[in-house]
Assembly symmetry: C2
Homo-oligomer: 318 residues x 2
């Protein structure tokens, strides 16, 4: 199966669905046969920037990268697998501790305990009964980093919260060049590690994923450790908790975690074979532009701007 997470956004009436599906099919077909696409199609491209679908169809194999099994987690829920890419460059000690917890099977049999609408899903040990094993009990506050020796693809538009936003390596990020600092930002699907009031009280045993409008007020206040690259809908569609902060009020409501594994520890034939578009490629830059100014027939007033959390990083299976 070849699946590309193209987001097609228009609010269509249902009558359009067949046509839309046909369009996607034809786009996919074009991707495979574009050497022989009719001249008219190529000529029309010269007159306007391409759409998202066209940009992705025109991407090259090298624009994509496979996930690193040493920095990829599989969370197995009753409904399926959630795939998380870790961010060791931004939260090295958190990531190392989470990997230690995972390798000692800390999360197996624990639960999703909190689902707060338009905010986060959180999982860990609601009964506080499990030992952290050899993992650290507290960690330094890895909330803001020195500017990284990784490509930063900036967005041209103003951001409400930070001097500059864009993509640092694999993740949406902000930076302040004046002080040489970068930090990951809380877009939909980003994964972080809970803490108590003390900034050094976290250890990666309580983890959350953003399932609502980006809670950017959390930026620089907590360690972001990665991003859900596949299966976010298994988290975002869970029943909301009825307790304070969205915690489930009864044990029965909790969603059991069958296991969390490092991809490298899973036999190759059982791994998810996912590729992520590299953010420092011309293809990704073209994708940003296609989303800043939509050329689909449905859009009449292209925004001309884009929020960092409205640029999904495409993922496909291979």
């Amino acid at each position: 199966m070849r699946r590309t997470s193209i987001r097609v956004d228009p609010i269509v009436r249902a009558t359009l669905i067949v046509a839309a599906a046909a369009l996607l099919v034809s786009t996919a077909a074009l991707a495979q046969t574009r050497q022989t696409a009719p001249p008219g199609v190529r000529a029309s491209l010269a007159h306007m920037p391409p759409t998202e679908a066209r940009v992705l169809a025109d991407s090259k194999p090298n624009d994509w990268r496979a996930l690193d099994p040493q920095n990829t987690l599989y969370m197995q829920l009753p409904a399926g697998r959630v795939v998380i890419e870790l961010a060791p460059r931004f939260a090295p000690q958190y990531v190392a501790n989470i990997k230690k917890l995972v390798r000692e099977h800390y999360f197996d049999g624990l639960a999703i305990e909190r689902v707060q609408d338009n905010f986060v899903v959180q999982w860990g040990d609601p009964d506080h009964s499990r030992s952290l094993g050899t993992a650290e009990k507290t960690l330094p506050a890895e909330f803001i980093a020195s500017s990284k020796d990784v490509p930063f693809t900036p967005l041209p538009d103003p951001d409400t919260y930070a001097p500059e936003v864009g993509f640092a390596g694999e993740f949406p990020a902000a930076r302040d060049s004046k002080i040489g600092r970068e930090w990951l930002v809380h877009c939909y699907g980003m994964v972080g590690a809970g803490r108590d009031d003390d900034v050094e009280s976290g250890n990666g045993s309580e983890i959350y994923a953003v399932i609502g409008h980006a809670p950017r007020q959390l930026d620089r206040n907590v360690a972001l450790v990665g991003r859900v690259v596949d299966g976010i809908e298994l988290l975002s569609s869970l029943p909301r908790g009825s307790g304070q902060l969205g915690f489930y009020t009864s044990r029965e409501r909790r969603v059991p975690i069958e296991s969390i594994r490092l991809a490298a520890d899973v036999p190759p034939d059982q791994r998810s074979h996912l590729e992520v578009l590299r953010t420092y490629t011309r293809t990704f830059t073209a994708l940003i532009e296609a989303r800043r100014n939509r050329r689909d027939a449905w859009y009449k007033v292209p925004a001309g701007r884009i929020d960092v959390c409205n640029v999904p990083i495409p993922v496909r299976s291979h």
Copy 2:
């Protein structure tokens, strides 16, 4: 029951929950007894801006308004009631047409047909078999309005998409004072009317609600007709559709709509008794400030900024 939709945001470890619940209870108690609160509490307020919980606890009865039954919809789903406040000042013809459809029971027995993760839930007539009755088949594009004779509470921070954002009457909105234009913006929970490519092809028979990061690229491209003020979690937690654009691929997956009614047509004892905080009050302004700079013990780096879609309009039952 007195319920206030205070959003308490910190990513806490589960150990904090009992304490957090106790704090909320004590805040509620303070709201009822603040005349006799210890002097130390009042004195401490002089030294720092109040928290959100304090702002809401200190609100006055007149800061709140009841929903207008003539502009409130109840969508009855198997799981419960979704309450939608309509926006006649911004989309008068759409709202009138939707009310006509509702009063002729157009939606009863139809279905939620589309749930696209991090985007929208959409409902209407997936089989295209039902008559629109006496409702209009097409409507003018009510996407942008002349500046309204309603209070506009601006936010002080830059917005990625618009020259100025804030709250126009009951809704999050943007404005461009130079050209005297205002428009509603696509925050989480906002409700709009689908259309085909033609901007005048909509009629309010296909409706969507935003359940993800604000898709602000839709602003000025489609008619926003209101906002979900209660029950959004009944929409946001639905299973995602597996078809293109998140449409359900089989009839069985669709979520039936038992009925949609205008609150005014429902017997008073069966109505939802909800109050919404007025957005042009000092209380709301103080709430914005409390969210721009969080004073909760958990926050160490107050953002000092806020995005219009990160300011929820508080709702409570009475």
